[in-house]
Symmetry: C2
Subunit: 840 residues, 2 copies
């Protein structure tokens, strides 16, 4: 396992080679196992660190690999210092120093941009006064880091080139700034008390590299944009609270004078019941099921589009200020392509040790077919597992509520619904949490089976699989409640039974939306709280403890160390960096809660916001203090996550359309008000939604055994069906079809309207901010001027050095050419003609 050298409490001794001159740039760790423990799987989890050599091969083989690897490093110009003692087992460290020429070579090769001495003023996007006021207002939210990074000027930068070295800032100096970085990050970023501040993203990027920088920037943008969503969500919820006492349908449901006798909720054991006993859920329902919710879900669909557009802009701004512009895609990916062989080797070694690495390139589809087959069937099996889990909980709910209803204890009876719902949701939550972990491991295993060629492909496939499984897992029970629960229950006299005995469950009298809301809020909150606290804080702490105890045991058995633990020993004790996938995944699933079912739970953004404010600092703390410093990876964007986000945004439109039109009572109310109501108001709506059932039509044995409601001829149930006295008794009525048509029309209208608005929003907001475009143009121009001037000076110098002749035609032409190319960058790479003899 490998990590760049740097950590808190760094001292000079640990940071340099023995000569005290050469800095330790990188530390390699070879973990040698004890003899005899050869079969114990020392490398349990597949780490995402590059270059890691797994311990699978036999001992002597491993030593050979190590020797070859180190020889290659030295050949590449790196300088190596090993530990003096060569222990038989346990970690042994090899420290690397990259000399200046090697750094230069690699910087040139990777086209790393470095700042020049020239300063270019940043264009302000607003007028002077505005921007000043804005800066003043923003002051308390800015982290206290040196203002260099968000001042009004920016150092011009260009691709590193040894030829142009004299024009660039001192790079070594900025490398030594790294130590300062960590301290600053500790104080201004990885603290809960800094929760209200912007993140010092530039600093994060400097210390952790672009990929991790982008993650935190993304998380920041997401959290920031959750603020307006939360505010609107609270207002919408507030509207529900404010209007609950004037809402006619809930008033009618609670009105004791309207004597609706409802059909029993279970066969035999249950009695007829009065509708006004469900007054509570009706009022609660109104909090989430009101016209403001419709507005809110349109708002949130557009919000999702806005978020993605905003992020695109931010990404481009970042890649501008981090000098990643102009780097082609494949150059960014070079690093991962270089790691290609290692990756393949790693995955191959781990699972098919006899498989030659070089042959991976030549795998045909026939070789890959079994892998794909296992893949598809496993994923289908996992889907089946998820569905079974959901179905199991349904069975639990149905049977337990039936059993409880039959119980003679009246106390038990009255609490049936609450008890069953609460326990069922908790079971759901636990199942989700367990399956989540399992699915993560399964996705990893399946992706390894595919033997992808590059690290990038590996990551993408892993993410897709993990996302698919975890998404299904988290949302299956919610989808069930939203779209299926209560729709297959049948009608009085013709109920649907499972296992011949148990009636399919129905929604609460207040409508399915309130159940959806409960389900959603408990799963979302539970998942966040438990995963944040237990998985992200608890388990790493536990792991650390276990490792510490283990190491202690090892250390005690051996003789004592000759010297106190070095910096690299301490670093090695930290947990390894496991990649950003789990962090992103958690946020993406949360994004689903915020966007997919927002129509039923307007407070979702608020809870997401609260969670994320903590999450940022939690992650920051973890990265700064608890993990080995990860290898910096260059990245221009967040990759496949963007596609997943955008896909979810699109999916959320249709889901919200269905939730509003089918789960909520919005459409039936509209239809009643504008088509059936005599007065044009909502009065009589409840009566309209309840159909009549003739008690004499109950099948034998399903009539309530005891009734406290007196003599009942007709009971009511919630459905649009013909009354018993109609020619087509109990058939769907005209109202049913009319409401259905209205619901479907709403879905079409909503979906297409929102899709159109999203397109407009995405089209109106340019991907590249205007200031950046202009700034880029100006920078190019400035840079060319700088190099032009330099080339001119050089030419004159050579001219005065080499000859006293009048300038030849060719050289004056060359100068003239340069002048003409003022507008382009590529020029400065061309060499001055006059210095070399004309060999072409």
């Amino acid at each position: 396992t490998v990590g760049p050298a740097s950590s808190p409490q760094a001292n000079r001794e640990g940071l340099y080679f023995c000569d005290g001159q050469r800095k330790v740039d990188y530390v390699l760790v070879f973990h040698q196992r004890r003899h005899g423990s050869l079969r114990s799987p020392a490398s349990t989890s597949v780490s995402h660190d590059r270059l890691s050599i797994t311990n699978e091969p036999a001992d002597h083989e491993m030593r050979l690999i190590r020797q070859e690897f180190e020889a290659n490093l030295m050949e590449a110009g790196l300088e190596i210092e090993r530990d003096f003692e060569v222990k038989a087992h346990g970690p042994s460290f090899t420290r690397l120093h990259a000399p200046w020429p090697v750094l230069c070579r690699e910087a040139e090769f990777l086209k790393i941009k470095v700042p020049t001495k020239t300063v270019s003023c940043l264009l302000g996007s607003t007028t002077f006064l505005m921007s000043t006021v804005w800066r003043k207002l923003n002051q308390p939210f800015q982290p206290k880091v040196s203002s260099q990074d968000h001042g009004s000027s920016k150092l011009l930068s260009h691709c590193f080139s040894r030829d142009k070295l004299h024009l660039t800032m001192h790079i070594h100096a900025s490398i030594s700034l790294f130590l300062l970085c960590q301290q600053l990050l500790h104080e201004e970023w990885a603290r809960y008390s800094a929760f209200y501040k912007y993140q010092p993203i530039d600093l994060v990027r400097k210390y952790f590299g672009e990929k991790i920088g982008l993650y935190f920037a993304w998380l920041g943008v997401y959290t920031q944009l959750l603020i307006p969503a939360s505010i609107v969500g609270i207002i919408v919820f507030g509207y529900g609270v404010a209007t609950v006492d004037t809402d006619i349908p809930s008033l009618e449901m609670c009105d004791e004078r309207l004597n609706f006798t409802m059909c029993p909720l279970c066969d035999g054991a249950c009695d007829f019941w009065r509708l006004n006993t469900a007054c509570g859920t009706a009022r609660a329902s109104h909090l989430f099921d009101n016209p403001a919710t419709v507005f809110f879900s349109i708002f949130m669909s557009l919000w999702a589009v806005l978020f993605l557009e905003h992020w695109k802009r931010r990404q481009i701004s970042l890649s501008f200020s981090w000098d990643l512009t102009g780097i082609e895609e494949d150059e960014v990916n070079n690093e991962s392509q270089n790691a290609e062989m290692y990756t393949s080797a790693k995955h191959t070694h781990t699972h098919t040790p006899s498989f030659p690495t070089a042959a991976i390139e030549k795998l045909t589809w026939k070789d890959r077919l079994p892998g794909y087959f296992i893949n598809v069937s496993s994923i289908l099996f996992m889907f089946g597992l998820t569905f079974s889990a959901v179905f199991g909980v349904i069975i639990y709910r149905i049977t337990v509520s039936a059993l409880m209803a039959m119980s003679p204890d009246p106390e038990t009876k009255s609490n049936v619904r609450v008890t069953v719902t609460a326990t069922a949701v908790i079971i759901n939550l636990v199942v989700i949490l367990i399956l989540d972990e399992i699915y993560g491991a399964v996705a990893l295993w399946l992706t390894e089976l595919e033997i992808p060629k590059t690290e990038t492909t590996f990551e993408e496939r892993l993410i897709l699989k993990a996302f698919l499984l975890k998404f299904m897992n988290a949302y299956a029970p919610i989808f069930y409640v939203a779209f299926f629960k209560g729709r297959f229950a049948g009608r009085p006299g013709n109920y649907v039974y499972v296992f011949n005995d148990y009636r399919m469950e129905e929604c609460a009298p207040g409508g399915c939306l309130i159940e959806l809301c409960i389900q959603l809020s408990i799963i979302m909150l539970g998942k966040q709280l438990i995963q944040n606290n237990i998985f992200e804080i608890g388990i790493p702490k536990l792991k650390k403890l276990v490792r510490a105890i283990k190491d202690k045991g090892t250390a005690q058995k051996e003789s004592e160390d000759e010297r106190p633990p070095q910096q690299w020993n301490r670093d090695y004790d930290l947990a390894p960096f496991e990649g950003l996938t789990p962090e992103y995944m958690e946020m993406i699933i949360q994004f689903g809660f915020v966007s997919l079912f927002v129509a039923s739970f307007p407070l979702a953004p608020v809870f997401a916001l609260l969670n994320n404010v903590i999450e940022i600092r939690l992650d920051a703390k973890k990265f700064v203090t608890e993990l080995r410093r990860p290898v910096a990876i260059r990245a221009k964007d967040i990759g496949i996550w963007y596609n997943i986000l955008s896909g979810m945004g699109k999916f959320s439109v249709i889901i919200n359309a269905f939730v509003i039109s089918f789960t909520s009572d919005f459409i039936p109310r509209l239809v009643y008000q504008y088509i059936y109501s005599q007065t044009g108001t909502m009065h009589g709506f409840i009566d309209h939604t309840l159909s009549y059932f003739n008690v004499s039509n109950f099948k034998s044995g399903t009539v309530p055994q005891t009734s406290s409601q007196g003599e009942i001829t007709f009971c009511r149930y919630k459905d649009y069906r013909e009354p018993p006295w109609s020619a087509e008794a109990y058939q769907f009525s005209k109202q049913y079809w009319c409401v259905l048509a209205a619901r479907l029309a709403f879905v079409i209208l909503f979906q297409n309207l929102v899709m159109f608005l999203s397109l407009v929003v995405a089209w109106v907001i340019p991907d590249v901010p205007k200031t950046i475009v202009e700034q880029l143009k100006r920078e190019k121009k400035l840079l060319v001027e700088v190099f032009l001037q330099e080339e001119k000076d050089k030419f004159q110098l050579i001219h005065s050095l080499f000859s006293k002749d009048p300038p030849r035609h060719q050289s004056s032409h060359s100068l003239w050419t340069s002048h003409r190319h003022l507008r382009t960058l590529p020029l400065f790479r061309r060499k001055a003609h006059s210095g070399l003899p004309d060999m072409q």
Copy 2:
């Protein structure tokens, strides 16, 4: 006006300067007006040629501009030859020669890639046998041009650099190939007899530049993909023809035993009528309205996606084989950015002569507001105009059919529908053709008002406006027939009247789909035939004739030319190149016919295919022989047209969903078969769709004055309404709502299914063909090897020349560095260190 020098029948004399050595690379034409005719607008159309100087400014001013312009050209290193005679008016020619150093400089500056001497084998995508068979089969369709362009090898190419000149092919040689090009294009491309062949796209690109090459490549891909669409369309139509005799609803409609007495089609003058008289339209309707059509519209929606994906791949393949890969967006646009000032100057001069060019950059939104305001209001006005035209035709149809129905002549009466429909569609067509031309001009005028900054912006905005207007124009009447006609006609006893007297029109008894089909086919065919024949062939011929006559007049008045007309004189006589916008626009509107309403007219792809096969050769002929050779413009893609196409593809999904569910009878039939039919067959469907009307409920004066049908109590009409004896007489029946719900559900299902499938298709097909990816990798590697070898050789040469010392550490390191960089391209731009004294 400006054009590169080259045309058929080129002779050596016309192609060189007087010295017979320097080639004429470019000809500038200054058209000086006669004195006195200062106010006559000599430059009528705004040409899209770059650098063109308009004649607006006064005479002496113009001469100054010309002098300055020519001075700038000479300063840029170009050599100039003018005509000896300086005529007072008429065109005068300035010929330009670009010397070798200037060409080199510009090639370097534009990063033009040139072939090296190294050959790289192209990877075959199929196995050897397959590809051989395929090539054999394809042989007759290949144009007979030199196989260099589609052989199995490709010359490696890299950005032009003077340093690497010795490695590249002779470029001058390939320039002289241009003359051959034209001849080949003439023979193998611009002939109708070559209609079945692939186009020699590489040759087209060589001669006309990338932008025009891309247009023809796009047209080729589109036409090619129309072949499968046509085949499926014909099969679908064939299915309709084959099943027309077994289709139960049409049999029932034609069955004389089923005695349906229909309510009269107009008030008073019309009689009751028997349904079986509409047998013909019913049978015709079935040809287009059958289950196969549903399949076909799903197929065509996916076809549109496939087409776009296929084009993306083709575009990337082309940019690979044309060596445009690796060129950044802004570098491609450099040319247009350079032309920026000229464009602005042109548009400014033309319309606001007092407006300083430099100030365009500083226009604030306040300056631009009036322009935008005029824009929006004009576009709204044009929309209004289109709608009025459509409405006018409706009024025409209503009144004329009412008047004809009242005519005493039975001959007239029986032909009412045919006569009115035919004339109305022809009026529609004429209106569309006229408005099309007007809208083109209006869009141009409006875009000029906006004073866009660059040529690219100008083109994009023009295209968007023109597309919006022309699309509305072409499709408004079709939309009317598809979705509105017959839906606001009311019901017997309660008809909707316009102008108090005329009943709103209804659809033909066979359904609206057949009318939509007629409308669509006539507009599509008429538009294609007339625009192709008259506008594309006739009018240019006419223009040429007019110009010839005019010039003759001019020539006769003056003294005779001293010498026979030169090549440039003949070129100048050709029509100027007006840009690709009209060509693309025509095809895009056609794409709309093929994709938007394909559910109602499965033969649309066939007609489009027939048209395009001719269109390609027609355009080719025009470009090769009738237009001045346009300036070659580099382009990586087809720009905004792709967005428009993709937008139309998306729009077509929802339109087709609505056409199938609302315009066709598909859904009512399904609903009848699976819900209402007693036998589960379609028997009784016609009876089911007809409602009853009690004749005594007719308003006074609307009962037929004379009836040949005997005593009638009830007449039937096509609608789902309650019968007169129901409690809710003439209200929409339960069936109505049921069918409506089914229709809407189908729309949702269709739209989301097709959108999902499209996403899958787009996701499955990679944008960059796999062979290209691998080829690119290999090329990079090869190229680096070549340059590496060269650098090594050079180093050794220098080494042996300059010193006999053993190599210093630095230089050996430099060589080593090179070796390490085998994998990257940028290396070869770095100079060898050892040649220059170390000045840094």
